[in-house]
């Protein structure tokens, strides 16, 4: 018979199964914040008060102990993974409320010191993801502890709460048990701690050996259990067949400089440790930054569960569309990991949740979401800089073929921001510079970003996570000069030999009817490449993928009529961003947006293909509820005319 606690959770799971699908963004959050030295509420939209869970906080900017608060032990009680110490009371200065959308804390220095920067990792209790509970030891061998994961755990952490003891860690891919999370020691404890019995989907086992290990009579413990989804048995997402958490292991090899780990999803958070040797418990997340610098280098921001150090950018671990790459300098060593899928998994329902444009003095772009792509320029003459979360401070230009450049350490952590991007005014040379920033967030069916390394093989495919067939793709070579290849499904019915380039005004035919996609149209999961251009061996690339999403974005075409015409994008409140390019004759990649003015009157046009200042001299475009109204401007052959008679145009618009 199931215990009351198990019954309660199973009922909750049944409720979830009958209602909205659960996505990773409902269950896990990396939320970065700056301490204010007062009361501060973190709104990460995780229901902790109703569902329960764990909040793990670590100061990033300097050393301080890890602080773990959970709903089972209650507020104002924390444990530290870098210490063996018992649970401490923080008083009201600590985390003092679990909310239905996050948590609230007081002034305690390890979690909310004024001006210090912090990361919080929140794990919500949910079947097939995470469970936590307290229990009292009974001193018996073969103790069966029931849990509510509904799936065999991939990792179990146990900590005594009423006295000093190591953080014991059982991991499915480690021969031995770790003792523990608070040390860099190899896994050196016999499985007898866990009764020499593998955990099941309903229980795990503890033995009581020499009064040392967990389950000592009269002592109190907390257990954190992490699931291991495989082949869709996680049951998450709109389709109910997606995995969001994976525990596994691998053996390093001297013949492979960069170890590629396949998870079946792109991770946002990775915990990794060598199992058979000394190493720290490394934690990497993509909010703080896990960028790909070159083929074999990176500067992922590392925190370590067993140490109180602040973060340091010294690790080469970065996500791929299907897992992660990790550079290891040793050979034949055993490693274990726990990885959590990147969100959001839900298809966006509002353009403002995934796109933001702002004209700014300086460059503090305050969106309502963490951005994944920023294109920014001065409104006076300047290049168009392309920054992405996956490459951090490395930037490319839309208007030139230059290889990627480094913006300098001052811009490190550019995307470590919950609300947009804040570029130091120093980047622009003056705090009074007028700039514009266009910010995209990755989301299914809307927009995706993929980094890959060329292999020089024709027919090679690259996996993406757009979830639908991309209708427009931009491919930038990072490590060398190259055109900014653009595929657009609207040109000649998506024929792949209709490439154009963001850095030029050339028409399709003048660009040479070039095909970088090996004659194969992209699918909802991969795009294909020929052996050159966008797939030169050992060369790094970044691809941006766009799609039409009803009411949110539109990738389309129109034929110019030389006067004025409404372009129906299927929007309700008009377009906030419009990109237009002539394809049958030379034409600039014209950008219009509501921040600079998309009005009934003269508009500010800028071009992705050039570094010219914006020009508000002509009525290029007018607002229209279903999309936009495009007007003829300048002479028919002018590259800034967005509606020349009988000229073919492509466009991309966002509501």
């Amino acid at each position: 018979m199931a215990s009351p606690r198990v019954k309660q959770t199973l009922m909750a799971a049944a409720g979830a199964a009958g209602g909205d699908p659960l996505n990773v963004e409902d269950l896990f959050s990396t939320f970065l914040y700056t301490g204010n030295g007062g009361t501060q509420s973190i709104v990460n939209n995780i229901d902790l008060s109703g569902e329960g869970g764990l909040v793990w906080i670590k100061k990033r900017s300097s050393s301080d102990y890890h602080a773990l608060y959970d709903t089972e032990r209650g507020v104002q009680k924390y444990l530290s993974t870098n210490l063996t110490d018992q649970e401490y009371s923080s008083g009201v200065q600590g985390l003092n409320t679990f909310n239905n959308n996050g948590f609230t804390m007081g002034t305690e220095g390890s979690i909310n010191n004024s001006s210090s920067t912090y990361t919080s990792w929140t794990f919500r209790k949910a079947p097939k993801f995470f469970d936590c509970f307290t229990f009292s030891g009974d001193g018996q061998d073969g103790r069966q502890i029931a849990h509510s994961l509904g799936q065999t755990p991939g990792m179990i952490i146990i900590k005594r709460t009423d006295g000093s003891q190591d953080w014991y860690v059982w991991h499915k891919s480690s021969t031995n048990v770790f003792s523990g999370l608070n040390t860099s020691n190899a896994a050196g404890i016999s499985q007898i701690v866990f009764g020499n019995t593998a955990p099941t989907s309903t229980h795990f086992t503890l033995d009581h050996i020499n009064h040392v290990y967990p389950n000592h009579s009269g002592q109190s413990y907390v257990a954190y259990l992490f699931a291991d989804n495989n082949n869709g048995d996680g049951g998450f997402g709109e389709t109910g067949d997606q995995d969001i958490i994976k525990c596994g292991g691998f053996t390093s090899s001297s013949s492979i400089e960069m170890q590629s780990i396949t998870l079946g999803f792109e991770p946002q958070w990775v915990l990794l440790k060598q199992a058979d040797g000394t190493s720290d418990w490394m934690i990497i997340d993509t909010m703080r930054g896990a960028p790909i610098v070159t083929v074999y280098t990176g500067d992922s921001q590392r925190l370590r569960a067993n140490l109180d150090n602040g973060e340091s950018a010294d690790t080469v671990l970065h996500p791929t569309a299907t897992g992660f790459n990790y550079r290891i300098d040793d050979t034949s060593s055993q490693y274990i990991y726990m990885a959590i899928r990147r969100g959001p998994m839900a298809i966006p329902t509002s353009g403002t949740d995934v796109f933001y444009v702002q004209k700014s003095t300086g460059a503090d772009y305050t969106a309502t979401f963490p951005a994944d792509l920023l294109i920014s320029t001065r409104t006076s003459s300047a290049p168009n800089y392309v920054f992405s979360r996956l490459t951090d401070r490395k930037y490319l230009l839309t208007n030139a073929t230059d290889a990627e450049a480094d913006a300098g350490s001052g811009l490190s952590g550019l995307f470590a921001d919950q609300t947009g991007v804040n570029i130091s005014p120093n980047w622009w040379g003056s705090s009074t510079t007028n700039t514009v920033g266009w910010l995209w967030r990755r989301a299914p069916s809307y927009f995706d970003v993929v980094c890959y390394i060329g292999n020089g093989t024709s027919g090679r495919t690259v996996t993406h996570n757009l979830g639908v067939v991309p209708e427009m793709m931009w491919v930038f070579r990072r490590s060398d000069t190259a055109n900014r290849y653009v595929y657009h499904a609207g040109v000649n019915n998506g024929a792949t030999n209709t490439t154009i380039s963001l850095d030029t005004t050339l028409s399709v035919s003048d660009f040479g009817n070039f095909d970088f996609m090996n004659g194969t149209q992209p699918t909802s999961s991969v795009f294909s490449l020929s052996h050159t251009a966008a797939n030169v061996n050992n060369t790094t690339y970044i691809a941006f993928l766009f799609a039409t999403l009803a009411g949110i974005s539109k990738v389309g075409t129109f034929t110019g009529n030389g006067s004025s015409q409404n372009i129906d994008c299927g929007f309700s409140n008009g377009a906030r961003f419009v990109l237009v390019k002539a394809t049958s004759q030379a034409g600039s990649w014209l950008i219009f947006d509501t921040a600079r003015g998309l009005v009934s009157g003269n508009d500010s046009a800028m071009g992705f293909d050039n570094n010219l200042a914006e020009a508000a001299v002509t009525d290029y475009i007018d607002p229209h509820s279903s999309g936009f109204t495009i007007n003829s401007a300048h002479s028919a052959s002018d590259t800034y005319n967005p509606n020349s008679n009988n000229v073919s145009y492509i466009f991309y618009a966002i509501a």
């Binding site: 009803a550 607002p623 509820s625």
Partner: protein, 164 residues
């Protein structure tokens, strides 16, 4: 948040408000002209928010909607003074002066902290077993003198001495 203007009352409503007011109406995911007619509303389109000509003691605020030259209803924005005379209280100028003092104090604190951090980063130059170069001595002195800079406390990045 998408907004809509009631054609009769002129009231501005959100999509959620309209859904709540019409609980028995089945609505498509994306609204079009038919939806607007059924609800007796017009969509409010994004308007251009002023970014220039904003005075030191002014801010940009939303000011309802306005009809553009093409008869679209668009967001209206206006530049407003941050302060006004208070009957029996502070004048507009007094409030501005108080506000400016607060900005000055905050900027001075922030820049003093930055100066202290930059000096601390070079403290090891002054170890007894090292001899500072003239450039190092000058750099540290420039940092100490930063409070006498003509732009103090509102410094540009270019106002700081170049790090050695």
């Amino acid at each position: 948040m998408a907004e809509y203007r009631d054609r009769t009352s002129g009231e501005i409503k959100t999509k959620d408000q309209l859904k709540q007011e019409n609980p028995n109406m089945s609505m498509p995911k994306v609204w079009n002209e038919l939806s607007f007619d059924a609800l007796n509303v017009d969509p409010v389109l994004a308007g251009k928010k002023p970014t220039e000509g904003i005075g030191q003691y002014q801010s940009v605020s939303r000011n309802g909607v306005v009809q553009d030259a093409n008869s679209n209803w668009v967001e209206a924005w206006e530049i407003r003074d941050m302060f006004a005379d208070i009957d029996g209280g502070q004048t507009k100028e007094e409030q501005e002066a108080e506000y400016q003092t607060r900005l000055d104090t905050e900027a001075a604190t922030r820049n003093r902290n930055q100066r202290d951090n930059l000096i601390a980063k070079t403290d090891w130059w002054a170890s007894s077993d090292l001899t500072m170069t003239s450039e190092q001595t000058a750099y540290r002195q420039s940092l100490r003198d930063i409070t006498t800079h003509s732009n103090w406390p509102h410094l540009e990045n270019s106002d700081w001495p170049t790090e050695l």
